[in-house]
Symmetry: C2
């Protein structure tokens, strides 16, 4: 490879929101940034999560010099326990909270500290990686502390990678974005900008955490009974603010939900969450009055087993909602979860609790900047080239249009896909090839053992069920029908399907046809018949026994 350019290779996070991962290659050195997971679309039936394909990194394992993590969210570090063991042991750099959350994951997967080379860095630290890369991290605000973007100094020029960001002037941890570092890179000249496209379609400025906190504060101050708040378990900033609001109103915080408690424990043990009173569980509430408690619980996405869903459905073992309670949904549904969240909200209204949810109430704000914040980054960096990242194609394209509307627009923008090899040099910026990329399905304990055909079968069965036709081959054949998810038991229908099957089998046996051929005939005849009389197409499985 020539020393005239850097190759930027997104392995996830392009054309999608999730599984963020970049490889930056210069000559014979590779720098990796992040290793996140994605959540499945509704049509990926039964899949738990998706992780990036890393064939390219495995094929070039000896070139990897280091790995930098921007922050501790699942879509940036969630794939690490799956990926790290399959790649050589290289230094993994991350801020304290990021590594704290990562270690928690590694522990769950039985990955010992000695097996990985974790190096804690300051969110503003400058790192030397390999011979050619200098990564100058800069603190930038997002919905979790210790979040960084970076200026990657390479032999061909500066690459600014924003990481996930919004511009929060009063962040809950009192540590605003280090914009001066971005501005300095801009003055010196930025070759390429990689920027967060999540909210590229939203005009204006994203609502600030301070405003959300003030809205929640007002609601809590006027609440007469118990208050329940749900938000993303990983939204450490929001949770910190809610803890302070609870304290101000002399309410003890009861935390419920495994993932939220886990995040809180890590954040607290590393000093990222300040508490005057320890968090308690429902069992430890004692005789606190209704107006002396605030519950922080999971369920912001309507997940069926989460605390808020069980409360809404009335299936929680220890708690029941009642009139006079207040529920604050301090979150928005992630695309795909709208229906589940809506169901929970409706149940809450039915119970008669006071419900506060966005957009009617400003009880949530995105962690990603809107158009005015994206424009600020363009003005600070005025990059020669631009790669809109962290977004679906609609977000990437609208981010590109926004770039084009700037007084000094980039010379060129590329809407990249995962696996594109984007070559960037002093005077070139183009896609020069492809590496393998895409998603590996994780389902139960299996990684990669689900294919698209399996998903298609699941889809078919989810629509019309399955019908199994068992027959013993014999001159007077006996046929049994078993179905699941097809139709209610119906003697007439079963008798007529059996009749069709028996005819095919009798003919087959009489004509001494091969078993495979009889099976095919049976399949075709039953399928046609079922479709005609029921209008349905169950997955049909003939089982023949000789």
């Amino acid at each position: 490879m020539s020393d005239k350019y850097v190759e930027v290779i997104p392995l996830g996070g392009m054309g999608e929101i999730g599984k963020n991962m970049f490889a930056f290659r210069y000559a014979d050195e590779i720098l990796i940034v992040d290793g996140g997971l994605a959540f499945p679309d509704a049509h990926m039936l039964g899949i738990d999560l998706l992780i990036p394909k890393i064939d390219y990194l495995q094929q070039n394992a000896d070139l990897i010099k280091g790995w930098v993590l921007t922050h501790g969210h699942e879509d940036h570090i969630g794939a690490m326990p799956y990926i790290v063991p399959r790649l050589p042991r290289v230094p993994i750099y991350g801020a304290r909270l990021t590594l704290g959350l990562l270690k928690e994951k590694f522990a769950e997967f039985g990955i010992k500290d000695t097996m990985v080379d974790l190096r804690e860095v300051d969110p503003d630290e400058k790192l030397r990686i390999g011979k050619h890369f200098t990564v100058d991290l800069f603190r930038i605000t997002h919905s979790i502390p210790d979040n960084s973007g970076m200026v990657i100094h390479t032999p061909v020029g500066r690459i600014v990678h924003t990481g996930d960001f919004k511009i929060e002037h009063h962040p809950p941890d009192g540590k605003p974005s280090h914009l001066a570092k971005i501005a300095a890179a801009g003055s010196e000249g930025v070759l390429l900008l990689i920027s967060d496209s999540t909210n590229a379609e939203r005009p204006g400025q994203t609502t600030s955490e301070a405003e959300v906190a003030s809205t929640i504060d007002k609601i809590v101050s006027s609440a007469k009974g118990r208050v329940f708040v749900t938000t993303f378990a990983s939204h450490t900033h929001r949770i910190q603010n809610i803890l302070q609001i609870a304290e101000k109103h002399r309410r003890r915080v009861v935390m419920e939900g495994r993932s939220m408690i886990k995040y809180a424990q890590v954040a607290q043990s590393l000093g990222y969450m300040k508490l005057s009173h320890p968090l308690i569980s429902t069992d430890e509430m004692g005789d606190l009055a209704d107006d002396q408690v605030l519950f922080l619980c999971t369920g912001s996405q309507g997940q069926p087993m989460s605390v808020l869903s069980r409360l809404a459905m009335g299936t929680h073992a220890k708690l029941a909602l009642k009139r006079g309670d207040t529920v604050i949904m301090s979150s928005s549904p992630i695309p795909g979860n709208e229906e589940a969240v809506n169901t929970v909200i409706n149940r809450l209204y039915e119970i008669g609790v006071e419900v506060y949810h966005p957009p009617t109430y400003r009880v949530h704000a995105s962690g990603h900047g809107s158009q005015e914040e994206l424009k600020l980054i363009f003005n600070l960096t005025t990059p020669r080239y631009f790669l809109p990242w962290h977004g679906e194609p609609r977000h990437q394209v609208n981010h590109a249009r926004l770039a084009q509307s700037m007084p000094t627009p980039p010379q060129r923008t590329i809407i990249a896909r995962n696996g594109d090899v984007v070559r960037v040099g002093r005077d070139e910026f183009k896609v020069t090839g492809r590496v393998p990329a895409g998603a590996v399905y994780v389902d139960g304990l299996g990684v990669g053992d689900i294919s698209d055909e399996i998903i298609q079968d699941r889809m078919a069965m989810s629509g019309d069920g399955v019908l199994i036709v068992t027959a013993v081959l014999h001159p007077t054949p006996h046929v049994e029908l078993i179905s699941r998810g097809f139709v209610k038991s119906n003697r007439d229908l079963e008798a007529s399907i059996r009749k069709v099957a028996v005819e095919v089998l009798e003919t087959g046996v009489r004509e001494k046809r091969r078993m495979e051929d009889i099976r095919d005939d049976l399949y075709g005849a039953v399928r046609r018949f079922v479709r005609k009389v029921t209008g349905r197409n169950p997955v049909l499985i003939p089982v023949l026994v000789e």
Copy 2:
């Protein structure tokens, strides 16, 4: 039943958006309003549509005196072909377009004109139904022509039922709402108001059709290539406006998509759609230049087989999108369709066409009024009692709060559920009982042959697939495994499952246990083993043959 009150019995449309149907009963007379269908939630796997349960009407069939339809949308007339044949032949009143669309449906189901008693009425007509009901229809604007609300005069007082509505001052057919009739009822005194809650959470006024038309007009006027517009097939007003815009810009309209053509044919044949040039199909385009055509097509909800989806996926037989084309999504996703619509939008961006979609562009408006319009109805009617209808619980409750915020709020509001018997008299308004209510599933050709257990089986199979263990009972048993939607073919896993099964069978045969018991043992052992080694829970079906 006493003559002191009317019973209002919602059989659909309360606590939900869809399958609207009311029974109004006074003494020994029943008036039915509407008979709509609903579309299934995402978790109702494989279900095509839902219709209201009508047990109450069947049990009181001889009391039914008449049936009034408010307008021709699916959620108001879509269940009629299923319901009408199961009830006595009574007069069914509807405006011309409403009955035109209904006849089309009846024809599809083989219901002949002679089997039903359809009576065409003016949208402002006054009807006498039975001895006790006088239904004074009033024209009110919505997204389809010939839409009515009604003042129901009963011996105990006036009931105003808004029907679906928004207040459109410049409707495409030039026929605004007959607000004077509502106001007159208000002056005389309204006992009960039943009003459309769909947008009760939205502040302000719903965007007008005129504004949507003006936005689309601007986009079409600046488009250089072909223009594709998708909207709801039943949105006759929108389609009429788009036809005029096409004509203004000298573009021929190519209509594609079965449902849209069907609606257009009925509307056109009855004089509700004005065309200077006949609609053509893609085959009839001849050599029209790109800037001489405008395609109107189905696909506003991302339905996989719709025209726009096939265009976006590149699977349309006759047309392919290209750069320079403009696509206008003149619609919003119905809850549950967000992901499908988002997928189509992303594909369009990937192809590189110009895409216009709400909320970024005002190319769509709801057909239902927002808070200011709802308040107008309160001010015109100042009802004694209020029944928020046509909405999920969240919409009903927020509509009730809105009512309470009025200068002269209703004395009482009831958040009713389907099946509630709401008694309303001069001085009473309460729920006094329940009748059977809920949804009947329609799936393929079957109506009511799908139970909740079947849906649960479909759900289970959609997550982890199905595993069939076939065995011949024998001292040295032979076991075969068949799976669908489980995991990729895996010899080791299959061998170890077979081993577990063979052990159970050998023991069973040796101990001469009953076949049912052996089957239970087999089920338990394989299930536990599969769960342990794969972390999954496929639907397990043991098939034993002696």
